[in-house]
């Protein structure tokens, strides 16, 4: 199988780049972690890669708001390059802070002439929270989520509440590929929906299916021992970790 090349963007405060590279590597990709200043100097370097990944962390400290400063840099200076990248059939993944950055780039198709249709803002709890969530998947065209129905993954953020501009929720419904849920599917109140997101939305895909942004961290569940109940599941066998499938799907896209 050909090995896709992944560019993992690193900015001041990015801190999930190593484990994201590990996850892509486990799935069979070749990764390079590139500092944002290098990419801003020469956006054409994107041409050498098949996957562009914005990992989690606190880019520029999340000062002003999460992902705001990096999002502005990327939108102004890499916007065109990223459009071309996506239109060439390549993949873009934004996780947590990367999702917050993607929201600012316009690449997810969540904008109309009068501005953004949606945003990610402060959790209803008002604070950073780390916990595991269950997700229901409506993959549609989304390359990353092909064949996945449910996932358990951790979230760790202070600003992950998905909020829509008044009246825009129905128009973007099909793009909401990931929703917080519970084991039985009902009662998705806090903490199952950890941040108060509208319609329990945890992740959004662009209309092409090749750009995915999500708050939960798939790279934190690529090994069975990362699951919070792994010591209870020894006997049944732990199977393929849910998050790993996301990265395997990305690699398989180029197979």
């Amino acid at each position: 199988m050909p090995q896709p090349r992944v560019l993992i963007l690193r900015a001041p405060g990015t801190n999930c780049n190593e484990e994201t590279a590990h996850a892509f590597t486990l799935a069979g990709a070749v990764c390079e972690q590139v500092h944002v200043l290098r990419l801003l100097e020469s956006p054409a370097m994107l041409d050498d890669y098949q996957v562009f990944c914005l990992p989690g962390g606190f880019s520029y400290g999340d000062d002003i708001a999460a992902g705001r400063i990096l999002g502005g840099q990327v939108r102004r200076q890499l916007g065109d390059a990223m459009q071309r990248f996506r239109d060439a059939g390549k993949l873009v993944l934004g996780v947590c802070n990367g999702f917050q950055v993607l929201m600012a780039t316009g690449l997810l198709g969540l904008e109309d002439p009068s501005g953004p249709l949606a945003t990610l803002t402060r959790n209803d709890s008002g604070r950073f929270e780390a916990r595991w969530v269950r997700l229901s998947v409506a993959a549609g065209e989304c390359v990353f989520l092909r064949g996945i129905e449910q996932m358990e993954l951790p979230v760790a953020h202070a600003e992950g509440k998905f909020v829509c501009r008044e009246g825009s929720l129905p128009t973007l419904g099909a793009q909401a590929v990931l929703r917080y849920t519970t084991e039985g599917g009902g009662g998705t109140a806090y903490p199952a929906n950890p941040n108060g997101s509208a319609d329990h939305i945890a992740g959004v895909c662009d209309p092409t299916g090749r750009v995915l942004g999500l708050m939960p961290h798939p790279e934190r569940f690529v090994d069975p021992t990362q699951h919070p109940q792994w010591t209870r599941r020894r006997e049944g066998g732990n199977g393929v970790a849910d998050g790993l499938k996301v990265f395997q799907n990305a690699v398989a896209h180029f197979g």
Binding site: G13, C16, E18, H35, Y60, G115, T119, T121
Partner: protein
């Protein structure tokens, strides 16, 4: 030129969470009930080139989110910025603004200025602030509310619309060399100089300094005196514990030339010699008690570094900033170990006075002594300070503890620790003569002046105003940038040594690195945050996020380029010159010139008296009851035992992807794990185990047993999840009161003796440590008398263990009905200092003791059973004893227990069997098919088959036919989870 003010308000259809929280909090304040609040985030932007349309664009594109926020823009204080937000209706509202004081680190302002630069403008000066509109309160109430919003140590409160016309950027500095006449001072004069100059040196030390300069025939310069005070401070030199001590206890007298060296270090050395002499054994200690952290061997490629520090006094005055920079500091210790370790996990332990919201018997905020911040504010600030730094650094916070005791009022304890990974061949650094002294990271400002000497002073009700400059706010992203660059530079070997700028700033960092060589420092070259710093301020500033490198001149261009490529400032500040002298220059002027030997060996020896008298210990007879369920519920709800989930969930414990055993475990991820396990290398199965032991309550009875118990607890927590007891390294962190009092110092020596004994008996060496003395708070009571609150002597033991393969690890949640429950270890009549005694107001009794050889055998046998896969669940017995452990295992597993205490014999009453806190005990769940093998693995160890795991969710404990505890698991869980529920952090 206009100073622009931009307010960012929640949009009218969005909730204002900040306002809701303040309304809820004000409910209990005089005149605060029923107020209505609206809030905004504010920015002040000072630039000659930014016009109104530009400010509008900056507000829309950068500062606000169009979906959920609304910006208001104008010149400072103009009408749109004063208007009461719509959500408050027509009611008149007062305005409060909270601004960081000039010079206080404002990371958001720095980022905002740079981001405005990204938009194509000349980067302006920026300050952020918080703005509140308050309706339904009179002026006095608004002022009172304001005082709870602003901390005077770092913030200013401005009532009404802002009226500022420019942002202050510091004044000019005119060089003038200052000498301090010392030769003619008498002893009283010396002590006045020590105190008023915030040198906090003792008389003998001041006399030594006077003699040196009399002999040299000159007066010291101010910077020379400061350098000596920093280097000789308790914080930097640990002169009390590493000094001469005459100790007396019931066994007679003992004299130490260097107390730590002869107790704790000596045990480590003895163990290492023993291992080195034994061909079957390996000396796995790599670097102990000399570097910024202790280093032990991890695997074929890497060592692991571990360090725990305290930041108590700054946290008392400004809890958020103190805790924030406490964690930032210990992370830099790891970055500054060897040639730099990569941080992989954090641990934090806090000691607070109980806030009234969890203990109604505590004083109200209004009745606190002057100068004391309310305990709830301290707790919230500390928790948030650690959270915001650790999460931003991308280091998982995996382990911790919180202790409450009224004696921490005014002097909370904040322990922060970090573990890191470092290649074998990068584990040692040594500056070379001729190397450049390079400062890397944040700029130097007037922040943190006198932090090192301040920690030697007792806290008083005036500390806030006297020492405010010692308190700082961290900038985690600056430190993350430094981390990213440092690890690359390490792997390219671009420097020969590195250390962090902690207490004492450049003076300590350069002084320590150059101790064996000598150094010349060019102070005028240090990059400054703003103008106006004197040469002395530059030298002793403790501005955060700075490291000092020793760099071969040939490597400097490459290091400079690397730093530039990641936006990190690096500056040559001097050179290590083989002169044996510390020469300080400002431009062409020599402002200081001292021999290194005076700094490092010149401090006069002081013999301190230490005594310990065992307190009379009345016996403790537990009340005899038919049923102890209520005692168990009260113990589970006691703040030290109760769930810390409200804190833990605010910390990212899974970043870096190595999480194996999380702080909360079990079927619903809400049970208290014994220790954390992380896999620091994602391509390896090998794990690091972090755990801790702390119980100041035992120290009231005997500091020796407190120390021994803390060591046993830290080790047994690590062993409980699967750590190999033959490879556990320990750290000691002593937090004590004023050790100039012989009985206070005596207790500390006694604890150190226990550390020595237990380290040898368990073969668990101490690899590093730290002490913090003078943890006392003084104030003038209403009658004018000086009152002092000393903390209970508090020893934190942190353990770092290892597991060969993390898949063998065990968690504490019960797994399957029908499995057998075993108690491992001996239960003794040891209710002294227990939580049973606490909730029943009983005093006296015997504190738990440790039988070292027996503990070693028990830990080894337990490890054998765990690695053999014989144990399904394992929990250590600590506060609340057997009953609390059984309850915690049951609710974590969503199962019940049927336990009969009869197999424990009839010597001890039920209360003791249930609640004694005897050490070296575990409650183990074993599948029936493994029971025989388990018993064989534990042969020679006291074990008792107590009962089994039940499908019914009740914890049922009997003594023969009599039920002594019978409770529904949900009831137990609710008691445990209720105390520190999320609301406490609202």
């Amino acid at each position: 030129m206009t100073l622009w003010e931009i307010n960012v308000l929640p949009a009218d259809d969005q909730p204002d969470r900040e306002a809701e929280r303040l309304q809820a909090r004000a409910h209990d304040m005089p005149g605060g009930d029923g107020i209505k609040v609206a809030t905004a985030r504010g920015f002040l932007i000072d630039s000659p080139t930014i016009a109104e349309p530009d400010a509008v664009r900056i507000a829309a594109e950068l500062l606000s989110d169009r979906v959920v926020e609304t910006p208001a823009i104008g010149s400072v204080g103009s009408w749109p910025l004063k208007a009461t937000p719509k959500r408050l209706g027509e009611a008149p509202a007062g305005i409060l603004n909270v601004l960081p004081k000039p010079g206080v680190m404002d990371p958001v302002a720095l980022s905002t200025a740079a981001a405005i630069g990204d938009l194509g403008f000349e980067p302006p000066q920026v300050r952020t602030f918080r703005k509140y509109w308050i309706a339904g309160a009179d002026d006095a109430a608004i002022t009172a509310i304001g005082q709870t919003l602003a901390n005077d140590a770092i913030e200013q409160l401005i009532e009404g619309p802002l009226a500022i016309d420019r942002l202050d950027s510091g004044g000019d500095y005119h060089y003038e060399l200052r000498h301090v006449p010392i030769a003619e001072l008498d002893d009283e004069g010396l002590m006045r100089l020590s105190r008023e100059g915030q040198l906090y040196l003792q008389l003998a030390e001041m006399q030594t300094i006077r003699q040196f300069f009399v002999d040299a025939g000159r007066s010291p310069t101010d910077i020379e005196l400061e350098t000596l005070a920093q280097t000789w401070s308790e914080h930097c030199s640990h002169k009390t514990l590493a000094g001469r001590i005459a100790y007396r206890d019931e066994n007679g007298e003992r004299r130490f030339d260097n107390m730590l060296k002869e107790t704790i270090f000596a045990a480590t050395n003895e163990l290492r010699q023993k291992w080195q002499a034994d061909p079957e054994r390996e000396d796995w200690c790599v670097s102990v008690f000399k570097d910024n952290a202790g280093l032990v061997r991890f695997d074929e490629q890497d060592n692991v570094a571990f360090k725990v520090e305290t930041h108590n006094h700054p946290s008392a005055i400004e809890p958020y900033g103190g805790a924030n920079t406490g964690l930032g500091g210990v992370i830099r210790d790891i970055l500054g170990a060897g040639l730099g370790a990569k941080p992989v996990a954090n641990t934090d332990v806090f000691c607070f006075a109980p806030p009234r919201c969890i203990d109604e018997t505590q004083p109200t905020d209004e009745s606190l002594p002057p100068g004391v911040l309310p305990p709830r504010r301290v707790m919230q600030g500390v928790v948030e300070g650690v959270r915001d730094y650790g999460n931003r650094m991308g280091i998982p916070t995996v382990n911790g503890a919180v202790c409450f005791d009224p004696r921490y009022l005014g002097n909370p304890l904040v322990y922060c620790g970090t573990a890191g990974l470092i290649p074998h061949d990068a584990s040692f650094g040594e500056p070379q003569p001729g190397d450049l002294i390079v400062a890397v990271g944040g700029r130097t400002g007037r922040d943190g002046i006198h932090g090192a000497t301040f920690s030697s002073a007792e806290l008083t009700s005036e500390s806030e105003s006297v020492s405010g400059g010692a308190v700082q706010i961290g900038n985690a992203i600056e430190e993350k940038r430094v981390l990213d660059v440092l690890l690359q530079a390490r792997d390219e070997r671009l420097f020969t040594a590195v250390t962090d700028c902690g207490a004492g700033g450049f003076s300590s960092a350069v002084g320590e690195m150059g101790e064996e060589i000598g150094a010349e420092v060019w102070l005028d070259r240090a990059p400054l945050k703003y103008h106006g710093l004197s040469y002395t301020e530059i030298w002793i500033s403790e501005a955060q996020e700075r490291m000092v490198f020793a760099v071969d001149p040939d490597k400097w261009p490459r290091l400079e380029a690397l730093c530039n490529s990641e936006g990190v400032e690096a500056t040559v500040l001097g050179r290590f010159e083989p002169t044996g002298r510390l020469v300080l220059k400002y431009g062409d002027n020599t402002v200081g010139d001292l021999p290194m030997t005076l700094l490092h060996d010149g401090r006069p020896p002081v013999v301190r008296e230490a005594s310990f008298t065992p307190p009379a210990q009345p016996s403790l007879t537990p009340p005899a009851r038919d049923d102890y369920t209520d005692d168990l519920l009260r113990i589970l709800a006691a703040p030290n035992v109760a769930s810390k989930e409200a804190i833990i969930r605010q910390y990212d414990h899974e970043v870096q992807g190595g999480s194996v055993v999380k702080p909360l475990v079990g079927v619903a991820s809400d049970g208290p794990g014994d220790a954390a396990v992380v896999r620091p290398k994602l391509t390896s199965r090998r794990g690091i185990v972090l755990s801790c032991g702390i119980n100041p309550r035992y120290g009231d009875l005997d500091p020796y047993h407190m120390a021994a118990s803390a060591i046993d607890e830290a080790v047994r927590n690590a062993v409980a999840v699967g750590a190999d007891p033959a490879r556990i390294g320990l750290l000691d962190n002593f937090c004590w009161g004023d050790c100039e009092r012989s009985e206070t110092l005596g207790g500390l020596v006694r604890a150190a003796l226990a550390c020595h004994d237990l380290a040898l008996e368990l073969e668990a060496p101490f690899i590093s440590g730290k002490d913090s003395l003078n943890n006392e708070f003084s104030y003038a009571a209403e009658d004018g008398e000086k009152q002092t609150i000393a903390i209970p002597p508090t020893l934190l033991i942190s353990a770092i263990g290892q597991v060969d393969d993390v898949s063998a690890c065990v968690t504490m949640d019960l797994k399957r009905p029908g499995n057998v429950l075993y108690l491992v270890g001996e239960t003794k009549d040891e209710l002294g200092g227990s939580h049973f005694a606490l909730v029943n107001n009983l005093s006296g009794g015997r504190a738990p003791t440790v039988d070292g050889p027996r503990a070693k055998a028990t830990f080894a046998a337990m490890h054998h059973a765990i690695t053999g896969g014989l144990i399904a669940a394992c929990h250590d017995l600590s506060e609340g004893g057997l009953a609390a452990a059984a309850a915690e295992m049951a609710f974590a597993g969503g199962l019940g227990t049927t336990i009969d205490l009869a197999s424990l014999g009839d010597e001890l009453p039920a209360a003791t069997l249930l609640f004694s806190e005897s050490n070296t005990r575990f409650l183990c769940e074993v599948a029936p098919e493994n029971a025989e093998a388990f018993e064989a693995a534990l042969s020679g160890i006291a074990i008792a088959r107590l009962g089994e795991v039940a499908a019914a969710t009740r914890v049922a404990i009997t003594l023969g036919d009599a039920a002594v505890i019978d409770a529904d698991v949900a009831e137990l869980r609710d008691a445990w989870k209720g105390t520190l529920a999320v609301g406490v952090f609202g």
